[in-house]
Structure formats: structure tokens, C-alpha cells
């Protein structure tokens, strides 16, 4: 029998009066990094807060490591949450804030200080550890929140828009850190409305829009399921016209277009697997040297656009 997933959502809904936060979300999140994607107002923060026990679901059930996070406070020993708020005890230093937070777990003075120092080092805040939080920049406050979320070494880390307010260097190093947490076996759920940020981090996604779950799972598998949208493939080579004349005769190809501003061909197909097989034969027969082959719509943004476009049309 398979072990239950660390995070389990069963028909989770949350309303704020008449306003819907999330509606009927079911799914599970396992080890590694999972991206929680959707535009602003999609319900990402609400869902994460329900998972962290800060909000009670109006309907449905959340289980974190088999426990209800709203009832079992001990789950916070194994769960870290970087939330979207910006409230801090501004009079404290970053080190004191983390150290005192760890004392709240019941850790002794010495381990709390060591763990706080380690967490600040991981987030690149050692130099600012003894500065008052009130003097921190937005990016530094964001990193301090992340340090707060991971200081107690949790198995599950929920990150709500952790890159907001960070400079490009900070973004890069934070993404690298998140990737390493995922590789180390932690369950990391990271939300963002900037889809390409998550695209470089993980292929495993949960997509939300208007409080509903649009898609869940591997991005490429989700893309393959969108059968009404042909796959776009771009092939760059020295002789795009010769290649396009062969491609147009193939049954698996719907449309071929020679690019004007670059030496390549853009094609659309409903049968990418068959196309890749036939393409190999053509390349050998024609002696065409392919320099680059990409799928411009096999990414998070394209999938999200397709999914939301479908919903918009349904709505209309």
C-alpha cells in the first residue's frame, strides 16, 4: 500500500462571506518542489493559509502529514510557512526574532541561537543579523520570512510568493535554495503568479484560476492532455525552406511556417511522437543539420493560457 501523500486536499473550499477564495479543490502534494500557479486573486494564498491552519476550510478537509493543521498545533514542528504578510516585530533584530521564535518551539537558548544563525546564513542575512528589522529592505524582510519558515528544519515548506520584492540576484539564489530543498526530499509548495519563475524550478504544478484547480501534475503531461491545441515546435536549421517543403507533406503536421526573422521553421502538430520519428528520417535523407529544436508552448505559461482561454470561452 502506498504511503499517504504529505499534503492531502479533499474538496477544500473557502468563502469569505459571499466571496469565494477557493472552491472544491482536491489533490495531493508529494516530496519535491511543486509550483502553485495562478494570477493574482486565483486563491493561491487562501489555499496555502488553509494548508497552514491559519484559515479553516468552509468545506472539505486538509491533511498535513495525516493531521488537521487547524487542530493539531504540533504539526508546526514539521511545517514551515512563508506567508504573504509583512508584519514583523520591527524593534527586534533579525537574529533575535528568529532566536525567540525558535524558543517558542521549546528549543533551549543555545540550540535556538545556533539554528537562527544557520537559517540567516542560508538566506544570506548573516551581515544584517544584528540590525533592527525595521531597517530591513523589502527583499531582506522577504528573506527573513523564509528563514523563519525553515529555521526549525521542517519537512514541509509552504512558500507564498517568496520572490516578491527580491532583486534578481536574490531571486536566483532563492530559487536555487528552493531547488535544493526539493532535492533534499522536502515537500516544497511554492506559489507565484509569474509563471516562468516556476517553470525553471519544477515541472510539477498545481494551477489555480478563480479559486478553482485547473490542472495538477507534470506540466508536460498536462500539455499533452490539451488535445484541442496543436503542439508548436520550432526547428532551427541552415535550410528552412527545404525542411518546410518536406514537412508539409507529412500527415502528422497541421501547419508549417517559415520564420522571417530567424533561420527556422515553426510547425504545429497533434501527433508530436509520430512527428519526431518521421523527422529523424527526413533529416537523414535530406542531409539537413538541425541546430535547435524547442516547443514554445510546452511550458507553464502556454499551458496556463490554453487552460484559462478555454475557461473564458466556456464562460462566454
Amino acid at each position: 500500500m502506498n504511503a499517504p501523500a504529505p499534503i492531502l486536499l479533499d474538496d477544500v473550499s473557502k468563502w469569505y462571506g459571499d466571496v469565494m477564495g477557493v472552491n472544491g479543490i482536491s489533490g495531493q502534494v508529494g516530496p519535491g518542489v511543486t509550483g502553485l500557479l495562478g494570477p493574482n486573486g486565483a486563491g493561491k494564498s487562501t489555499l496555502l493559509k488553509v494548508m497552514a491552519g491559519l484559515l479553516a476550510p468552509s468545506r472539505g478537509r486538509v491533511e498535513i502529514l495525516g493531521s488537521d493543521p487547524r487542530r493539531d498545533i504540533e504539526i508546526h514542528r514539521r511545517l514551515g510557512f512563508c506567508h504573504d504578510g509583512d508584519g514583523f516585530y520591527d524593534g527586534l533584530t533579525g537574529l533575535d526574532f528568529l532566536r525567540l521564535s525558535l524558543r517558542l518551539h521549546g528549543f533551549g537558548a543555545r540550540p535556538a541561537r545556533q539554528m537562527a544563525g544557520d537559517a540567516l546564513e542560508k538566506l544570506g542575512l548573516t551581515a544584517e543579523a544584528r540590525k533592527r528589522i525595521g531597517a530591513y529592505s523589502k527583499g531582506m524582510r522577504q528573506r527573513l520570512k523564509m528563514a523563519h519558515a525553515i529555521a526549525h528544519d521542517p519537512e514541509i515548506v509552504l512558500l507564498d510568493e517568496p520572490l516578491a520584492g527580491m532583486d534578481p540576484v536574490g531571486r536566483h539564489s532563492t530559487l536555487e535554495l528552493v531547488r535544493q530543498w526539493g532535492e533534499a526530499g522536502r515537500v516544497v509548495l511554492i506559489s507565484s503568479h509569474i509563471l516562468h519563475e516556476i517553470d525553471v524550478l519544477t515541472g510539477n504544478i498545481m494551477m489555480l484560476s478563480h479559486g478553482r484547480l485547473l490542472a495538477e501534475g507534470d506540466i508536460h503531461e498536462v500539455r499533452d492532455l490539451l488535445s484541442e491545441h496543436p503542439h508548436q515546435i520550432y526547428i532551427e536549421c541552415a535550410n528552412p525552406r527545404a525542411l518546410s517543403s518536406r514537412l508539409i507533406t507529412m500527415d502528422s503536421v497541421q501547419k508549417v511556417h517559415v520564420e522571417r526573422d530567424r533561420p527556422g521553421v515553426m510547425l504545429e502538430t497533434f501527433q508530436p511522437d509520430a512527428l519526431y520519428q518521421q523527422l529523424g528520417r527526413i533529416v537523414v535523407e535530406e542531409g539537413i543539420e538541425i541546430e535547435l529544436m524547442t516547443s514554445p508552448d510546452d511550458n507553464v505559461q502556454a499551458v496556463f493560457d490554453y487552460l484559462t482561454q478555454g475557461r473564458t470561452e466556456e464562460g462566454a
Binding site: Y16, K49, A52, G53, L54, L55, A56, I73, E74, I75, H76, R77, G80, F81, H83, G85, D86, G87, F88, Y89, G91, L92, D96, L100, S101, R103, L104, H105, G106, F107, P111, Q114, M115, D118, E121, K122, L123, G124, H148, I150, H152, D153, G170, S173, T174, E176, L177, Q180, W181, A184, G185, R186
Partner: protein, 287 residues
């Protein structure tokens, strides 16, 4: 930024069997955090300054007597002390401290959006409330008791200035001062607990608090029958080792309740108020 240590094991959390010790350590941690935040905030220092004002009344009185009368006269220090205590400390300063700090026990954390940091820790909600209430109680008690001691010392010094010799020393009664301080601290604990509950449950808790202190508690003592039992002030006043003004004036409405009963009622109000505050925190959602 280094991420290489992400998978390194950190010291593990304390084991569950040591739960009582753990909970006490957590209350102490909340107490320490809250104390630090309170002492670094402006509010308590402003209140400390306000609390000094009634303590300086003997000096003001002395200066006025010197300036405007030919024959210097200062009332007995103990009488002066008791009057100022029953008028300004009991009916103004106690309320001001309890309102300003009691309401903030939960509502400050909510308004500053810092409550989330506490709720994301494996802390029982009661530990949050008790830890914050204890630290607020300690700080406000230090302010109040400090002011009372200053008032007492200055009253005595003022009388000494006019009434040199043994008569002033005869009035020097540290037991009264100590008992007054104890009653104030005890009553302050009950008021703080009550207002923490008001601040947690009611929006604009300060308005309700002002209505309670300067409306209900003040007016009800002028009404007959036992309505005054439904004030904290009545029970606090009963505990004083000396008569305070309102008691003296309204003792016609019947014999006061026994001191032990009044003390018990204050304890019950404290416990129930704190329990209601904990309940609010358990239900609270952070959007």
C-alpha cells in the same frame, strides 16, 4: 547565499513526554518575547511618564502652599497618600494602564499582523495569552508600584519639610504602602485580563473599555442595591487595608462583602476573561 546546508540535520524538537516542562518553557518564551517588544515600544514609556504625574502631587502641593500661604501647612502624609490613591490611582491611573495595555494584549498582535508568527509555531493558544498577559502585568505593575512608592516617599518628604520631627515619622507606615501595592497589582491583573478579552472580541475595544471604566464602573457605585457587585472596582476597593473614598461614602448601602470573597471574584474574572481570550484566538483566522 548558501544553500548547501539545507539537508543537514538540526537539533530535534523536545520529546512529547516532557510536555509540562515544554509548555512552561513556551509560556516563558512568549513572556520573554512580549516583554522585549513591550519595553522597546513607546507606549509603556509614555505611560510611565503619565504615572509619574500623580506621584509628583506632594511636591506641587508643597510649592503651592509655600507660594500662597503665610503659614506653611501640609496634611499628614498618610492622609494625603490615601486621598491621592483613592481618587487618582484607583479611578484614573489603574484604568488608564489597564485600558492602554490590556486591550493591546491580543489586538496589538492582530493590528501589527504579527500574530501569524505566533500561530505558526507549535504553541497552545493559552500559552500565547498567558505569556503575553503575564509580561503586560509585570510591566504595568512595575509602573504602578513605582509611582505609588514615589508618591509615598514624596508625601512623607513634603510633610517632613513642614512638620519637622517625630510627627512625620509616626505616619511612616510601610505596611500600608506594601498592602496598597499588593491590592493594586492584584486588581491590575484582573483588569488586564478583562480588557485583553474585550480587545480580542470587540472591534473598537477601546470605546467599550472607556464606557466600562468611566461609565459603568463609576456610575453603578452611586446606585442602590447590589449592582455594584458587578464592577471590579467594588471588589478591588474592598481589599484595601484602609477606607477609600467611595467605600466611605456609600457604605450606607450595606456591609461590604468579605475580603476573601472579593479576592475570589477578581480571580474568577481573571480566569474567565483569559479563557475567553484563548477561545477567541482558537477561532481566529488570519486572512
Amino acid at each position: 547565499m548558501s544553500a548547501t546546508a539545507a539537508a543537514q540535520p538540526l537539533p530535534s524538537a523536545p520529546a512529547a513526554p516532557r510536555r509540562v516542562a515544554l509548555r512552561l518553557a513556551q509560556v516563558r518564551a512568549v513572556f520573554g518575547l512580549s516583554l522585549r517588544i513591550t519595553l522597546r515600544g513607546k507606549r509603556i514609556w509614555i505611560l510611565g511618564f503619565i504615572a509619574l504625574v500623580p506621584a509628583l502631587l506632594p511636591v506641587l502641593h508643597m510649592v503651592l502652599v509655600r507660594l500662597f500661604t503665610h503659614v506653611g501647612r501640609f496634611p499628614p502624609a498618610m492622609d494625603f497618600f490615601k486621598n491621592v490613591v483613592s481618587v487618582l490611582y484607583l479611578h484614573v491611573l489603574l484604568y488608564v494602564l489597564a485600558l492602554a495595555c490590556g486591550l493591546a494584549i491580543v489586538s496589538d498582535e492582530v493590528e501589527d499582523k504579527t500574530l501569524v508568527h505566533l500561530l505558526l509555531r507549535p504553541l497552545p493558544r493559552w500559552a500565547i495569552v498567558v505569556g503575553r498577559w503575564l509580561s503586560t502585568w509585570l510591566v504595568t505593575s512595575v509602573v504602578l508600584v513605582g509611582s505609588l512608592i514615589a508618591l509615598y516617599a514624596l508625601s512623607w518628604a513634603a510633610q517632613q519639610e513642614f512638620d519637622v520631627g517625630r510627627r512625620a515619622l509616626d505616619h511612616f507606615n510601610l505596611t500600608i504602602l506594601a498592602l496598597d501595592c499588593l491590592v493594586f497589582v492584584f486588581a491590575l491583573g484582573a483588569y488586564l485580563a478583562l480588557f485583553s478579552c474585550v480587545g480580542a472580541w470587540l472591534p473598537h475595544g477601546e470605546r467599550w473599555g472607556v464606557v466600562f471604566c468611566f461609565g459603568w464602573e463609576s456610575l453603578i457605585t452611586y446606585l442602590p442595591a447590589r449592582l455594584k457587585w458587578f464592577t471590579l472596582m467594588y471588589h478591588a476597593q474592598t481589599l484595601f487595608p484602609h477606607k477609600v473614598s467611595v467605600n466611605k461614602l456609600f457604605s450606607v448601602w450595606g456591609e461590604p462583602l468579605p475580603k476573601l470573597t472579593c479576592a475570589l471574584i477578581l480571580v474568577i474574572v481573571t480566569v474567565v476573561s483569559l479563557a475567553l481570550t484563548v477561545w477567541n484566538l482558537k477561532r481566529r483566522e488570519i486572512r
